[in-house]
């Protein structure tokens, strides 16, 4: 009998674990009750101070609004948009946090039912969910970040990764002393090939003699493979590595920092991706992050929200935010390494891209043509 009580207790413990696992982010509960409370209030005091009754919400992917990456950036953009029109969180703009892939649909539905006029899905993982919900609610506008979904009420926000990577290539070419640079990609896919092509074009444009080693780890969550690749590259005299590989890139940083720790005078660099990875590169008094290719999700979210509010929502369009609308760019936080000479060269090429003097290649085929034309 005694044993049975233990079994029960144990079963409870395990199910508690499942529960904990299921409700990941702590603020999720708060977030949704906030927005529910807000929608209750809306009837009473709808937009007394606000300059508009237009509202926009976003659904995060599993990263959450403080992931230092896409979601955070998108939320900052939405907040900036809200401030611009003196709206408050919960009245006019809000987010719904997803703790697992199965939360996307319910979260999107919740925001639609709370009558948000525009709903953002952050990250390509939401593309299926957005497509489904958008078909069910043709009167609501949707936008998806970092993916393209077809539908008259869906705006697709993508970034000119190749242009940003081109600038990263320029910076790498200006920085390298051994004339060898490396590229570490996540999966060998069209999306990451875009990064690779832009980067290689940028490097070769500055100096055709530089050798570029391209390696794909095969996954975005394999820091061990990232470290293996980086270890091999750095020992082959490559001194700048541009990674476009999510958490796999942690391994690249780990290897660079290890070398820097043992040989502080050796010049080796990592170029980060998606957001400013300056903090990842800190090692003692040094920092191995040369710069990072940043996607300005915040700018794009703010702009699309404004367009929608003013009645010209780009439904059915695939928007690409490039260097000209500050959609992509390089971080200049590591002032010691990212010298004026480098930033000067980067600005110069940025201008050429804006002026249309350079057409940055997006695929391997385009890259071949581009390299032939040099």
């Amino acid at each position: 009998m005694k044993n049975r009580k233990f079994v029960l207790l144990f079963a409870l413990l395990l199910s508690l674990g499942m529960l904990l696992a299921a409700c990941g982010g702590g603020d999720s509960g708060e977030g949704s009750t906030d927005s529910e409370a807000a929608s209750d209030n809306e009837g009473n005091e709808s937009g007394e101070e606000a300059s508009t009754d237009f509202s926009a919400g976003m659904v995060t992917d599993v990263g959450g609004v403080d992931d230092k990456s896409f979601n955070q950036s998108a939320w900052e953009g939405l907040k900036a948009w809200g401030e611009e029109h003196s709206l408050e969180k919960g009245k006019g703009f809000d987010y719904a946090q997803s703790n697992s892939d199965s939360d996307y649909l319910p979260n999107l539905n919740t925001l639609v039912r709370e009558e948000y006029n525009l709903v953002f899905g952050i990250g390509y993982k939401l593309e299926d969910a957005i497509k489904d919900v958008a078909e069910q609610y043709p009167d609501t506008n949707f936008a998806i970040v970092d993916s393209v979904v077809e539908g008259d009420n869906i705006a697709s926000i993508t970034f000119a990764d190749h242009e940003g990577s081109f600038l990263a290539g320029v910076a790498a070419a200006k920085k390298t002393k051994t004339n060898k640079v490396g590229f570490v990609g996540g999966t060998d896919s069209d999306l990451i090939n875009k990064f690779e092509s832009g980067f290689r074009a940028g490097v070769k444009t500055v100096n055709p003699d530089i050798e570029i080693d391209v390696q794909y780890a095969g996954a975005f969550d394999a820091p061990d493979d990232g470290k293996l690749i980086a270890s091999n590259m750095y020992s082959n005299e490559i001194d700048v590595i541009y990674h476009s590989s999510g958490a796999t890139g942690n391994g690249v940083f780990a290897q660079a920092k290890d070398i820097k720790n043992n040989e502080p005078d050796r010049e080796i660099w990592v170029i980060g991706v998606d957001r400013d990875q300056y903090a990842e590169g800190e090692i003692g008094d040094h920092n191995v992050t040369l710069t990072s290719m940043i996607k300005r999700v915040d700018n794009s979210v703010q702009e699309v929200s404004n367009q929608a509010m003013n009645g010209d929502f780009p439904g059915g369009e695939a928007l690409e935010f490039g260097v000209e609308d500050e959609g992509v760019g390089l971080a200049d936080t590591n002032e010691e390494a990212y010298t004026e000479e480098i930033s000067g060269a980067v600005d110069e090429w940025k201008q050429k891209i804006i002026d249309g003097e350079v057409e940055v290649p997006q695929t391997h085929d385009e890259l071949d043509d581009y390299l032939d034309s040099l």
């Binding site: 079994v7 982010g25 061990d224 020992s235 391994g251 290890d258 903090a279």
Partner: protein, 319 residues
């Protein structure tokens, strides 16, 4: 590329890649040798990585150079405690060991990510600044050829992993304790009649596997990943499990298998510069270790014979 250069670029990376797998695989060997299947190695590694990183972030500045060592020790202790859940379910309550192990995996990842979000307010922690660094071993690294390959730029933890394999072999095969542990995994009733407490031995073995799994996870976190998120430990625990099987449930075999996995992975990265191999598509080298594990299981490479009572709960007094 000369042979020495080649080995020099393959072996040190293979060693850091393999170290976490060796630790965890040794844990798996202990557990399975005592007759408890441990699918939960992955979860134990997650727990180890989580505790190692959190401890290092919190107390790293106070501990200075000793921070990584204390961190992996704490991770070991916490993971050992955590593995008690598996022991209670699998040994005392005779639950299905595979199911209980899977529950460990879910629980560890859920708990780790949940607490990270609670404490740090986001899905991943900052990067630690007190990680392990590679070292050249004094004197030994000056030996020509061998010194370059085996004693330059290698983590202490890699040596620790290899040394621990021999310790584990000694404990399992040369001590009374080891004999008892193996006997409860082969024929628990016979062991019981000889006065060996089957439950006690199995508890000890599972807790040891928890400690070693935690060690493996924290070493992975503090040499390779440097932060904790849901993407830190992805499959390394299962690779360790494969190493246990490929190594035929023997500590040195498991070590060899883990080293082989690291070697193959390392080789696949640098294959571009190696004659013959450069013509082989990278994907074949990447999958080679797993294919070999399946072949080993299917009986093509010697017989992979599991401890006889592996996976069977022991019920006192039954035959």
């Amino acid at each position: 590329m000369g042979l020495v250069d080649l080995l020099q670029s393959i072996i040190p990376p293979a060693l850091f890649f393999s170290a976490p797998l060796i630790f965890t695989a040794l844990g798996g060997v202990f557990s399975e040798r005592s007759g408890v299947v441990n699918i939960g190695l992955e979860g134990l590694m997650v727990m180890g990585a989580f505790v190692g990183i959190i401890f290092n972030l919190t107390f790293g500045d106070a501990l200075g150079v000793w921070a990584p060592w204390v961190s992996i020790f704490v991770a070991m202790v916490v993971s050992a405690l955590f593995s008690v859940i598996h022991a209670v379910a699998a040994v005392s309550f005779r639950a299905d060991q595979v199911v209980s192990g899977v529950a460990i995996n879910f629980l560890a990842l859920g708990l780790g990510v949940f607490l990270t979000k609670q404490w740090y307010g986001r899905g991943q922690t900052d990067m630690v600044s007190h990680q392990f660094f590679t070292r050249d071993i004094p004197f030994l690294s000056d030996i020509p050829v061998i010194g370059d390959i085996f004693f330059q730029g290698i983590y202490w933890t890699s040596y620790l992993a290899i040394a621990l394999s021999f310790v584990a072999w000694y404990v399992l095969y040369k001590t009374p304790f080891g004999l008892r542990l193996r006997s409860v995994g082969e024929h628990p009733m016979a062991a019981d009649t000889n006065g060996i407490s089957v439950y006690k031995m199995r508890y000890i073995a599972v807790i040891l596997s928890g400690a070693l799994g935690g060690l493996g996870g924290s070493v992975f976190a503090l040499t390779i990943a440097l932060n904790f998120s849901h993407a830190t430990i992805v499959g390394q625990g299962f690779m360790s499990l494969a190493a246990v099987i490929f190594g035929k449930w023997h500590p040195l075999g498991a070590m060899g298998a883990a080293l082989f996995f690291g070697f193959a992975q390392s080789l696949s990265v640098i294959s571009g510069g190696v004659p013959v191999l450069e013509d082989v598509p990278q994907v074949f080298l990447l999958i080679a270790p797993y294919i070999l594990t399946i072949l080993a299981l299917a009986g093509f490479i010697g017989r992979a014979e599991a401890p006889r009572a592996n996976g069977e709960p022991y019920i006192k007094g039954t035959r």
